[in-house]
């Protein structure tokens, strides 16, 4: 069969043998996905910033206690889970399977804690303060669509990330996945953290109640 390439044909860059970025296809694929997802969040955050600045009656529903303390805690939890993911990737590169899985479980706990805190906040806002996706008692109804839309999309990313971490942790622990898979998983997780670094200041800190 002619379509099975041998090592000699793969050795030339022009026949597909080169690795211009010196990384596997999975990692490059994840980077390209991250670029496209960045653009998704950029659109949302740019249009949000425009709405925020052009609507003088934008609600300011976040008092320091509990909302800002709560969301700052969420930020620190998510940042901490990024650090444990760094540790997991480093352990995977040393081929320390046991420690890798433990650090990944720690990362998952961070992700679950973040989701739990976030959902608590959502339910408080919906049931006690009557903020819904279509309206609120304080100002422009646009706030609900923006707030629940952007934080909801981010929370979906966190939940998918926790499931992804679980699958890779089990697979890596059993020897099915390589250190590169853990690293690719790490890229996704850090990206979710990175997005929150924009969502938290723009959504929460721009709408604090003095």
């Amino acid at each position: 069969m002619q379509d099975v390439k041998t090592d000699s044909t793969l050795s030339s860059p022009w026949s597909g043998g080169g690795s211009p970025f010196a990384m596997g296809s999975k990692k490059l694929g994840m980077w390209l996905f991250i670029v496209s997802d960045t653009l998704t969040f950029s659109v949302l955050l740019i249009t949000y910033s425009y709405s925020r600045l052009t609507n003088p009656d934008w609600p300011r529903p976040f008092p320091i206690n509990p909302a800002i303390i709560f969301s700052t805690t969420m930020t620190v939890v998510l940042l901490a889970s990024s650090l444990t993911m760094v540790m997991a990737v480093m352990a995977a590169q040393r081929n320390d399977r046991k420690k890798t899985v433990l650090w990944m479980v720690a990362t998952m706990i961070g992700g679950l804690l973040f989701t739990g805190l976030h959902l608590t906040e959502w339910f408080n806002m919906i049931t006690k303060e009557h903020f819904t996706i279509t309206g609120n008692p304080e100002g422009t109804p646009l706030f609900g669509a923006v707030f629940f839309g952007i934080t909801g999309l981010h929370m979906t990313h966190v939940m998918i990330g926790v499931i992804y971490l679980g699958i890779v942790a089990v697979g890596y622990g059993r020897g099915k996945f390589s250190a590169e898979d853990v690293e690719v998983n790490g890229l996704y997780w850090h990206f979710v953290d990175l997005v929150w670094m924009f969502v938290f200041p723009l959504i929460y800190l721009m709408s604090v109640k003095y």
Partner: protein
């Protein structure tokens, strides 16, 4: 198989200490942002400061946590200019229409 082995090779990255230092830096910038939120600045000024600080944080996460600093520079050239170009295009197409609509709005 040579290229495959090369791709699988572990990359030299930052040490544990440097990663922890970056993490402390990220938490510190977050603290600064929360402090600034109570300075009662103009929304436009506030937004600008927050976006700049967030871009610094994003750069730190990408360079160290996501290893971009330790990858081949060609990857940075592939990803970053394309991203900046797309975001610039969004600005070019979004704002003229957005400000036109704003003028149509009853006051």
């Amino acid at each position: 198989m040579d290229t495959h082995a090369h791709a699988e090779e572990a990359h030299a990255g930052a040490s544990v200490g440097l990663n922890i230092a970056i993490w402390i830096g990220l938490v510190a910038i977050t603290g600064l942002e929360v402090f600034l939120a109570y300075e009662q600045l103009q929304p436009t000024v506030m937004l600008t400061i927050l976006v700049v600080l967030s871009l610094v944080k994003a750069g730190m996460i990408m360079a160290f946590f996501m290893h971009l600093k330790y990858e081949k520079f060609s990857l940075v050239l592939l990803l970053v200019p394309a991203m900046i170009f797309c975001i610039c295009m969004m600005f070019i197409f979004f704002f003229p229409e957005a400000f036109r609509l704003l003028q149509l709005r009853p006051h």
